[in-house]
Symmetry: C2
Subunit: 372 residues, 2 copies
């Protein structure tokens, strides 16, 4: 990685080089062969797989071997509730829902309210408020309540803690220091925390008293938790989970780093009004276009560094042909930045209109998702 | 402290110098004045106070100020369940029961099963077995179930964890490293653990939504947990608890260190049969007597280093005059070691006969003590 580039569960900054990350993390690139194995079961490939928005994995071949032998897996993903959510969060969960639908699996969804309390300068009550708010967004994705179980760390600690201490017993401070960049001045809750994030990958196996394979779709910054925990699971008699690693939806300002809810100039929030979306895209979305219309017509734009185009590619345009058309038109100069942004604003607002409607309905449905 | 002397929550070894410990820990000696303040409320002083078996304190004057103003305190003590219990454990709890009776207070009794799992090379199930066994001994002490609440860390984690992470957020690894001798190779559960031991001192205040003073009678080796936590409580809006520090009942082999259940040659267990007690005292209890009867009659024994005499002083002979008689007779040579041991064996066995009967009855009573 270049200097100034950082990818840990608590900080992503600089221009992320995913090729280098694959080597550093020791994960495997998603290749055509393994995608074809997935396609055999799903009928089609989600565009986030076709376009390698999910770009790497751990042990996916093993997971498919087990699946093909009739040993079904469950999905595990999560959300750190410390503020409003943005499109980057939804991206992973929309893909997770697709996996749930295609493989007809259970999903264990963790809300790491303890983590956010321990790592953010926010009060316990504030984190609880965001936990509630974030649950609404997750429900709005359209997950099936019959197959989805929310795990809220501080609320479901009764089933989680006994497993967390079994994991914690096998991880030293040296290990978390090296893996997460924690220091002697880290608080002792932060040091313990990774054992809580490790729990859901084995909890269904514990509760059902049989070893069930697990697949974790996640943003690649979360991989260090499981790099550490994967050494521990077999010692406790469980499978190592398989993992699918996603790229970060870039922040509005440019393709470096990842969207952050803490910066309003960085992210489109799930609760943004059409006006806010319009303003954010028009004002902040980094453009690969030329300084003047005349110049743009002549030289064309650069979709590869254009944030609006990246949002189409990674989120809002599932149709490959239509995406190619946008790419070509922008590159040739036929499509202006202002036009590209208008189409994107429409797409985002129509998506958010629907999402916000479901988010409102979710207020009456939270109970359906809580662990009984 | 001399070289080789260690007093931490997880290791007590060497000859403990309590005077030096008072300075090192920054605690206050129990003096006549403060004992007189206690006596005003209790009518008499427990022999463990008169004889300074409980020898030091923190903030006891503040606690009595509050009490005299009508601000009642609750008691908090606990048990680390990793094996069978011995007389040294009961000593603290018998004194705690006396405090409960005299001040008519609630008692929160913590079973730190998570701690013992994290610090001992024992399985989770084994620790659970000992938790059950140890609860029987605690109930057998005769605590009132109406005023006593058991807190089992892994079972009552639902109410404890939210408070534990609030405490953990304010303690760094540097602090626990300095206070408990933990290292980079300590597991991350051990590092987090002290925040769990800190919780019961504020939990009744949390649950009752008002600030209630707390008094913790404990073995002095447990003080470091509260030395760390006392800085944290006020930051969360709670009182610092007062503490009463007890000496260790010496192991059979001599007055160094403390009794340990791990060594059968060190401790009288609560479940020992009369025969076992007889054998242990006769064979292992370190004697301050002379090598031959003739020499003993002539020179007399040394009760100050005689373990049997110490058991009378610290546990089995509440009557000061009778104790003085034993002391004088042993010192003059009138009382032989074998005779002293016979009297002690009788005392221990009659105590254990009663204790074991109540321990058996406790099997049907555990529910009365569990937190509702």
């Amino acid at each position: 990685m270049k200097k100034g580039v950082k990818v840990t569960p608590w900080e992503v900054s600089g221009e992320v080089n995913y090729e280098k990350l694959i080597k550093e993390f020791g994960i495997s690139k998603l290749n055509d062969k393994i995608l074809e194995r997935i396609r055999k079961h799903t009928g089609e490939l989600h565009f986030m797989l076709r376009r390698r928005v999910f770009f790497a994995h751990r042990d996916l071949n093993w997971l498919l071997d087990e699946y093909e032998r009739g040993n079904k897996f469950f999905l595990y993903t999560g959300c750190g509730p410390s503020g409003p959510l943005h499109l980057g969060h939804l991206q992973t969960w929309i893909f997770t829902k697709w996996l749930q639908d295609k493989f007809n699996t259970e999903l264990w969804f963790q809300f790491t309210d303890d983590e956010k309390f321990l790592f953010k300068n926010k009060s316990y009550d504030e984190i609880q408020k965001w936990t509630y708010e974030n649950m609404l967004d997750v429900i709005a994705i359209g997950l099936s309540p019959k197959k989805t179980h929310f795990l809220i760390d501080t609320k479901n600690i009764d089933v989680m803690y006994p497993e967390a201490i079994k994991i914690a017993k096998k991880i030293t401070f040296s290990t978390v220091k090296a893996s997460f960049g924690l220091t002697n001045e880290s608080n002792i809750g932060q040091i313990f925390y990774t054992s809580m994030q490790a729990v859901p990958a084995i909890l269904p196996s514990v509760l059902k008293k049989k070893n069930i394979p697990c697949l974790i779709p996640l943003g690649v910054d979360q991989d260090p938790h499981f790099r550490v925990a994967r050494d521990v699971y077999p010692k406790l008699g469980f499978y190592k989970p398989a993992i699918l690693h996603g790229m970060f939806l870039p922040p509005l300002q440019g393709i470096e780093g990842k969207m952050s809810s803490s910066l309003t100039t960085s992210a489109i929030l799930t609760t943004d009004s059409p006006k806010e979306v319009e303003k954010k895209i028009k004002k902040y979305a980094f453009s690969g276009g030329q300084p003047t219309v005349a110049e743009h017509r002549k030289k064309g734009g650069n979709p590869d560094i254009d944030v609006s185009f990246q949002y189409f590619r990674m989120f809002f345009e599932p149709d490959d042909e239509k995406l190619q058309q946008i790419y070509d038109d922008y590159k040739s100069g036929k499509l202006l930045t202002s036009e590209l942004k208008e189409i994107l604003i429409d797409k985002i607002n129509s998506f958010l209109r629907e999402h916000q409607k479901k988010r409102e309905q979710a207020k009456k449905r939270i109970d359906e998702f809580l662990l009984k």
